[in-house]
């Protein structure tokens, strides 16, 4: 064989087949076409047609001046070109006229109504401002200020209607609700149906008559009062009454289920030195998988394990148990009584103090899920530890998960598969993190609110704007020389890594591999659990 043939054959071994090549290129083209990658509307001609034309400014001024006498003006604040295919809505009433993607729409001193082409209606309160945008999976209403009442039409499969304010994302498939965007925060209330409200890492579902406000200074107002400005207020009130009475009926008929273990054994930990031999931690094994306490020490025989339908703990402390039971990181549990505070350790790992050995079994081990077992732990804490808690929301600094400047990377693949929270697998001594979830869930995992592991050690909120579920994996290796203080193999570095070190490391990984990154975020609202009372349990 000629040397040239040898090299050619060798190099071509690394090439994909023509079919694989074609498929990969098509995938990339689809992503480039989608708004989620480019951040630009590829279907919007202005992306391609050269430098932005700013000659619209005087034209917009003339248009705005011309329609002032109608009291309601539609000001087009971005480049616009007519085209029926780009029309997302029309203004109802005398003013009429199409509304296209990315136009800013303002209502002046009278309410106005937009009829979306897909059937939904948006009532704009006077002095409100919004933008309509076409998303990959539906339509986004970006509410800048003021308020709207949205009567969402039934959406097609995989289509959603979103309302976004500066701090919440509301998603619906068919309902009537209102959103107000104020300086101090946002308020969302439901008139009919159900909406999903996402604020940072927390997601709430609201039913008719229920409302949520994001700012602590925003007072809760009766929904009836909130909709009084609408021309359809009477219709909305009737819907609200129907919805609230139906919800009350459901609440009456749905008997509360109180989940408890069939048997619980709690003993103080023996206090014998672990020295890395004995696993320390807490785990519940349901039919749908295991759920572990955030902090655990893996013993020489591996991590702590539990048979199906059981929760097993060794050397576990009250704070970790409460955090596990309420699905929050250890750092968000406060008010730990003195008897349960672990003494400060001198040197390396010592015997766990003020800790317990726990073995609890569900009544029906063949059907208990991990979440049901978690609820049983709550009941166990209330019964055996006489635990009383209350919840608070506090503002704290943390990080926002955002899309890096070049957009999501190919390893972030859209998926319709069932959720799999991120887990780290080791292979050949190297870790790979895999998961299938929304970015909101990834942010929750990074902040330690789901799954196990304290991850960054600070709250993380999702601000990617990516609303779908993704399949992702990345290898947690960091840039040489950046961050990673105090890690294994880095002799001479002081102390464990701080949350900032961890965030810097993770941010670099996310950007390199998934096209996401973390940036500092102030005043993230975090739900915390405060222990009002807890007693040392009696041994059995």
């Amino acid at each position: 064989m000629k040397p040239e043939e040898d090299i050619s054959t060798f190099l071509k071994k690394a090439l994909p087949s023509p079919e694989q090549t074609e498929s990969a290129c098509e995938q990339v083209l689809e992503r480039l076409r989608s708004e989620s990658v480019s951040g630009l509307d590829i279907h919007n001609d202005d992306v391609f047609s050269g430098p932005r034309n700013t000659s619209w400014i005087p034209a917009a001024a003339i248009v705005a001046a011309g329609i002032v006498f109608l009291l309601v003006s539609v000001a087009v604040l971005r480049d616009f070109r007519s085209g029926a295919d780009r029309t997302l809505a029309v203004v109802e009433g005398r003013i009429g006229g199409p509304i296209q993607s990315d136009q800013i729409v303002r209502s002046k001193d009278r309410a106005m109504v937009l009829a979306l082409t897909e059937g939904s209606r948006i009532e704009m309160r006077p002095n409100s401002k919004l933008t309509l945008q076409r998303a990959v999976d539906g339509i986004r209403i970006r509410l800048g200020s003021g308020g709207v009442i949205v009567s969402a039409a039934k959406q097609q499969a995989d289509r959603h209607l979103y309302v976004l304010t500066k701090d919440v994302i509301v998603s619906v498939v068919g309902t009537v609700f209102l959103v107000n965007a104020e300086e101090e925060g946002s308020r969302v209330a439901v008139i009919q149906g159900e909406v999903r409200v996402q604020q940072g890492a927390s997601v709430k579902r609201l039913l008719p008559g229920e409302q949520v406000a994001t700012g602590s200074s925003l007072e809760a107002l009766p929904v009836a009062q909130e909709i009084s400005w609408s021309r359809s207020a009477a219709v909305h009130m009737a819907l609200l009454q129907q919805g609230t009475s139906a919800a009350a009926e459901r609440a009456k008929t749905a008997a509360p289920t109180h989940l408890e273990f069939a048997a619980v054994s709690i003993k103080p930990h023996s206090g014998l030195s672990t020295n890395g031999v004995e696993p320390i931690g807490f785990v519940c094994h349901g039919i749908d998988g295991s759920r572990r306490a955030a902090v655990e020490f893996v013993g020489s025989a591996g991590p702590i394990s539990a048979p199906q339908g059981r929760c097993v703990g060794n050397g576990v402390q009250l704070q970790a148990l409460v955090a596990f039971a309420y699905g929050i990181p250890d750092r968000d549990v406060s008010g730990v009584p003195d008897w349960a505070v672990p003494p400060t350790r001198v040197g390396t790992l010592g015997p766990p103090a003020n800790a317990f050995q726990i073995d609890a079994v569900a009544e029906d081990t063949s059907s208990a899920t991990a979440d049901q077992l978690r609820q049983m732990v709550q009941a166990m804490l209330a019964d055996r530890f006489k635990l009383r808690i209350h919840r608070e929301t506090k503002g704290t600094t943390g990080y926002a998960l955002i899309v890096a400047k070049n957009g999501p990377k190919p390893k972030l693949k859209e998926t319709s598969d069932a959720e799999e929270i991120p887990t780290l697998e080791f292979s050949n001594g190297l870790p790979t993190l895999r998961g299938k979830s929304t970015m909101d869930r990834l942010a929750q995992w990074l902040s330690g609110r789901i799954g196990a592991g304290s991850t960054i050690g600070a709250p993380v909120v999702d601000k990617t704007g990516l609303t779908r579920a993704y399949d992702y994996e990345f290898v947690p290796v960091g840039r040489g020389g950046g961050g990673g203080r105090g890690g294994p193999g880095q002799v001479g570095q002081p102390g464990p890594p701080t949350p900032a070190d961890r965030a810097a490391n993770i941010s670099a990984l996310l950007e390199d591999q998934l096209g996401l990154r973390l940036e500092n975020e102030k005043a993230i609202p975090v739900d915390v659990v405060v222990i009002d009372r807890a007693e040392k349990p009696s041994e059995n």
């Binding site: 040397p3 994909p16 090549t21 290129c25 947690p476 040489g480």
Partner: protein, 181 residues
């Protein structure tokens, strides 16, 4: 060409049909080149996406419109080399203890040995050498075609091919025998 005209040309974005046409014509060249250099289909998709995203987001230089194939091919090589070189600079993250240790099944992390050999060897070559080698031995371009595409003389192509062939064979030999590190 006047200065104004040049400035206008330099800030031109491709129109949508132009963009789609460019993508259809050159995406496979970019992707296969990136696959070879990075040794990873995922990274290759990343490279392809990055390069065409730049076309959407940034103004393109004048020489892009004169010879898009040259621009895109050189970009494919350079971006791919950046990917593998940054990967080589990586070290294991300092603190892994904060990740969950899963009990899931293990998956092989490393690619097959051949791919590693190729990737390691390519990472040690200059971008120009990689450009010529891949055009010749992967995309099966002739020497005059390479000269025309890269805007260099045929003699230069021949000399660089000869030298790079020797160097590549040496590097591949070392990698295979484990001496390359």
């Amino acid at each position: 060409m006047s200065t104004t005209a040049t400035m206008t040309e330099m800030t031109k974005y491709p129109s949508r049909p132009e963009f789609e046409d460019l993508f259809r014509r050159y995406s496979q060249l970019v992707y296969r080149t990136a696959c070879l250099v990075t040794g990873s289909p995922d990274d290759a998709q990343d490279v392809l996406q990055t390069i065409f995203l730049r076309l959407l987001r940034r103004s393109t230089p004048l020489n892009f419109h004169k010879n898009p194939e040259r621009y895109l091919y050189k970009a494919a090589v350079n971006v791919s080399l950046n990917v593998i070189r940054s990967r080589r600079r990586h070290v294991l993250i300092g603190d892994l203890s904060f990740f969950e240790v899963a009990s899931g099944t293990e998956r092989p992390y490393l690619d097959e040995a051949t791919l590693i050999c190729i990737r390691d060897a390519i990472a040690k070559l200059s971008p120009r050498t990689v450009e010529i080698l891949i055009l010749r031995y992967v995309h099966d371009r002739t020497e005059p075609e390479i000269a025309k595409l890269l805007g260099i003389s045929r003699g230069t192509v021949c000399v660089m091919l000869f030298r790079s062939r020797i160097r590549l064979r040496k590097l591949l030999g070392r990698s295979r025998s484990g001496e390359g590190k």
